[in-house]
């Protein structure tokens, strides 16, 4: 029962593309908005069918809208990912050689770390030793900011980890490039960058997966070796969002509609032609 591609689908795709990645609730709201705007039939709770229709068109272009879980809050996200190449070079259309090298080094640091984070000090030190073209600390800081803005990395207290969007897009690449080091979650079997691991047997799990798994247990034990689980179980009710809440915008819309309230309201009183 494959539906036809319509303006509702195209609008959804344009907005998702400009965000790169969207939370499930936002994506559902966008689905409803797009159907309303295009006066198309809106099947509530059928977002996945809606997305399938788009994916059929995206497949020949080696792109897909994928669903994935955020390692931070466990929420489902939708991201537009590139399937064409499995290497980091797929990001290459936008970045210089040495910027890509810095990204690879950052990824190395993140995956080799205990907690899935690389400190900015370590990253900036590696910027000094790039083989392609050395980067000064100032420049490296700028590049890191661009990676965060472009949602390849996310930053917390001066430390960097991989953004959910990056994990969703590069999971296969990471698992094949770091076969012995990259961890997989024992519960959901997906790649785990940030995780809690049993001290005895090394079994690792995503923090949200830990929260879900141990929800009903008073004395949490490792699912593999049954030793006591040594960590604090993440509280599922506490929301720790990865970034400030994103809202829906019209990326190619009429710019005069995209009014920035504070600036514009002030303008209203101050504009004197």
């Amino acid at each position: 029962m494959a539906a036809q591609m319509s303006d509702a689908h195209r609008r959804f795709l344009q907005v998702l593309m400009s965000h790169g990645i969207m939370e499930g609730a936002e994506a559902r709201k966008l689905h409803r908005c797009c159907c309303e705007i295009s006066k198309a039939y809106y099947a509530q709770d059928k977002l996945d069918d809606f997305v399938s229709t788009i994916n059929n068109q995206l497949q020949p272009l080696f792109m897909q809208i994928r669903k994935g879980m955020s390692e931070v809050d466990g929420r489902t996200h939708y991201a537009l990912v590139n399937m064409a190449e499995t290497e980091i070079t797929k990001m290459a259309s936008d970045y210089a050689e040495n910027e890509l090298e810095l990204f690879r080094k950052t990824m190395d640091l993140i995956i080799l770390s205990e907690n899935g984070f690389a400190s900015s000090t370590d990253i900036l030190n590696s910027a000094d030793q790039l083989k392609t073209k050395k980067m000064k600390k100032k420049e490296a800081e700028q590049v890191l900011k661009i990676f965060v803005d472009d949602k390849w990395l996310s930053e917390r207290n001066g430390e960097y980890t991989l953004h959910t969007r990056c994990i969703m897009e590069m999971e296969q690449y990471i698992l094949s490039t770091y076969p012995d080091i990259a961890k997989k979650c024992n519960i959901c079997h997906s790649l785990a960058i940030q995780s809690q691991a049993c001290e005895t047997c090394g079994t690792g799990m995503h923090l949200p997966c830990v929260g879900k798994y141990f929800k009903t247990q008073s004395r949490p034990r490792c699912p593999q070796c049954n030793d006591f689980w040594p960590y604090e179980i993440p509280d599922r009710s506490r929301i720790d969002s990865q970034s400030s809440s994103r809202r829906i915008i019209e990326p190619y819309g009429d710019p005069t509609d995209a009014l920035y309230k504070e600036v514009i309201l002030e303008t209203a009183t101050k504009m004197k032609w």
């Binding site: 795709l13 344009q14 064409a84 829906i248 710019p255 005069t256 504009m271």
Partner: protein
Amino acid sequence: MRAERSGLREGDDEDFSVVPTQSPSQVQRNLESRSQEEINRKVTELVQFLLVKDQKKIPIKRVDILKKVIREYKDVYSEIVNRAGRTLQQVFGLQMVEIDTKHHIYILTSTLPRVEGENLKQDIQTAKLGLLIVILSFIFMKGNSAKDSAVWEFLRRLRVHPGEKHEVFGDVKKLVMEEFVRQKYLEITPIPLTDPPEFNFQWGPRAAKETSKKDILSFVAKMQKKEPSFWISQYNEAKANT
């Protein structure tokens, strides 16, 4: 580096500045010498290339399309571009628009019907667009060109200063004088024989394509709670422009 590329050096623009003009039957013959698969692959590469560049609002030069994507398939260039255009339209609701016919520079615009602002909320991109609208409207109301000192004085009243780091925009001077110019929203040219150097602000080609004098005037009118026709010369100009 692939062996077949050894004949062309980096920066050798000669081959890529001109597209051979061909009759449809010539293109047809050239097409027949390539496999469907090869052509499809090139179309896909071009679509991805265009999307990536446009997401960053970087205008796309034909020279880059030829050099980085089309390469040895130059003889079927028009077919690849046409098919890419159809894919962009069918899947994304986007089209290629030439904003510079002399140097052949393109942007992507949406072909979907425009939406009124109700459901729209904000983020940093939208905030930047808001600032841009304010600048574009100032330029228009001043007769399509304004001096940099006038623009900054105007923005100062909105508590946006070129010297200070703005909490939303960061380095505003960089945003306005570099990013907006690079994205072709503004055109900033130095005024000759000025010391210290002064600059002239005008609309860039992307601004002209993505909005209109009519829209900008109605924005000003909404803000001032007046009718657009209140500003006679701008009103006539906006009308003539449609």
